[in-house]
Assembly symmetry: D2
């Protein structure tokens, strides 16, 4: 199924996972690095949490469903990680951590977690949500604006396989068209700029 | 220009850079982590090199043009990194390092570097090339097969901005359609499987 | 601006037009042909209306704003057409025609026209709406289902320019990412099938 | 399989067909209309030929394989058309018709037909080729330039299904990523302009 990254081939997969393409954009856009403290909710199979743990200082990952935490713990063990803590709990009611650099959300009503996210992030800390539907994306962005987050930026990442053979180069016939939208924003007191600056009319 | 990641806003930009979207896919698909040794050629402005340095153990980055190395050194300084070594030199003639985990190539004739890449990578080490044109992609893949690399996988990453406003949600009107193709492969002695397995006829 | 089709280069352009790529999908998916009777609202610059007129028996095109009708009349004259009738009026209040084969909608609240569309179409007649935002698309589809239309099918058409030169083939760097979604449906009494049948989980 | 256009549901399908999305772009970009004379090669199942026949004056469609001509004849009969002529023959050796408005090519080595195409088209007549691989696209464009065609324009049309349900709007998870590239050009003596004008650096 997954050719890359190779480590995912040995991981357990319970609930639906965030795929490498979206994990890649989350990592690159968030600027996570070896000194980052990350909070993650919900854990699911823990693929995002363990990938972040391999790149950052510590990851705290929450899920309300204990059976998912168990799968994630198994994946932590498979990869030999000691810097990820799985917790069973509802992040909309608040988390224990403070001064986090990054807060990732993969929840049906991610916007409900934003007050807790705001408390947990340090100034300039980044929140990113993984949202399959456009309605979720809108609710999330409207709540971000209301709570004074800034640099709101929403994207969709599409990875297209290329078929490269002696007889010819072309994109793969079929492929994965959609997983979810990603919404990024920063905690802060600065005035919110227009949400997207890159758009222009094509008239 | 770049909203995310924030750190790039302060970096110097000389020659054309690899953008965060492609850096994200390189990171996610390569499985790079805190213990990885990376080799990078050519350095360019060093954006890929410094991003990898923030996530891995050490990065060795080569460029033939000394003026680029200088820009990259400046970016290393701005980010306060001590685990990236910039070198001026031609990687097609070989590199000093051995047992590397990852070798990234952003060169016009990346396939010419493959014999040197093969020597420098450890078994199961990963090479990834950033190739703007389809002809380059084909040459690179043909050479990979000839040299016995396996798990060859070629993709294109497209990030589409979403415009999320009270009056409506829709993709941004205009955007970036293409930067480059990414080709991934592993060094090894295993038989090469069919290059892409996910393709099916749509008849 | 437009390389193709050549005839558009000489047409007047007032309000925003439906572009050839979307006109092409409307024509191909609707099955419009030389014997078709088409109704169109709103006219705008009349590009869709005159294109349909060149391919069908007769087009009746409505717009509430008389100044647009004037631009469209000019375009009809430029192309030497005699089988398109421009009318100033509000289609949500009903149209004069009956037994139409195709009804095209480019209106802010296209769903409000659906009762009138249903009266004007013959059995098995096709309605298609051009809708820039996802919220409009949803409102339109919900109303289609309520009114008993069937074969509901929603798409987005993306045309990507390819740069083909001696030095290499690749997609164009920048381009048009979004104009509007297109929603198709048929008038009829048959039970509505699941809206999209082609989707599968990627688990 | 095909929801739209409805008429295709009853057509025979032998060899691989050109899909409605690509037929739509061919129609819209070529400016074909009720007075057009079209030449088509190779016929295949005849879907493009019969669709063009429903919109134009006459279509002459060539294929080297007689068994395909038979399927296409069947489709002509199903649709009750009298303005399409199927011929068995090799278009690279020339066609009988002259002063055609449009010449469509769906052949493995489409560039070999270009001298015959040039003879058969009227001044300003349009050629369009359907080419799955990038190598074919390049060969075709290079030959177009050599033969003095102008307004060369190459595109790829991607149609993405949208899933519109009460619980949310989002693109379909999986879909068709690639069929073929389309290359358009005009016969003429005018100087060839730069192939693509819309591209800009993203530096």
């Amino acid at each position: 199924m997954f050719i890359y990254p190779k480590m995912y081939r040995k991981l357990k997969r319970g609930p639906q996972v965030i795929l490498p393409k979206d994990i890649g954009i989350i990592i690159a856009y968030s600027g996570v690095w070896k000194e980052s403290i990350c909070i993650d909710a919900g854990t699911g199979s823990g693929w995002l949490a363990v990938t972040l743990a391999r790149l950052s200082k510590h990851v705290y990952s929450y899920d309300m469903r204990e059976e998912f935490t168990r799968i994630a713990e198994k994946n932590k063990e498979i990869l030999g990680l000691d810097n990820v803590t799985f917790k069973t709990g509802d992040v909309t009611k608040g988390v224990d951590e403070r001064d986090a650099d990054i807060f990732t959300l993969d929840l049906p009503n991610a916007e409900k977690a934003l007050p807790a996210v705001k408390k947990a992030l340090k100034d300039d800390g980044l929140v990113v949500a993984y949202l399959p539907h456009t309605e979720q994306l809108k609710k999330f962005v409207m709540k971000l604006e209301k709570l004074g987050f800034y640099d709101v930026h929403c994207v969709e990442c599409i990875v297209r396989d290329m078929l490269v053979r002696k007889e010819g180069v072309r994109p793969s016939t079929k492929g994965l068209w959609h997983t979810a939208y990603l919404a990024f924003a920063r905690k802060g007191a600065k005035k919110i700029p227009p949400i997207i600056k890159t758009d222009e009319s094509f008239k």
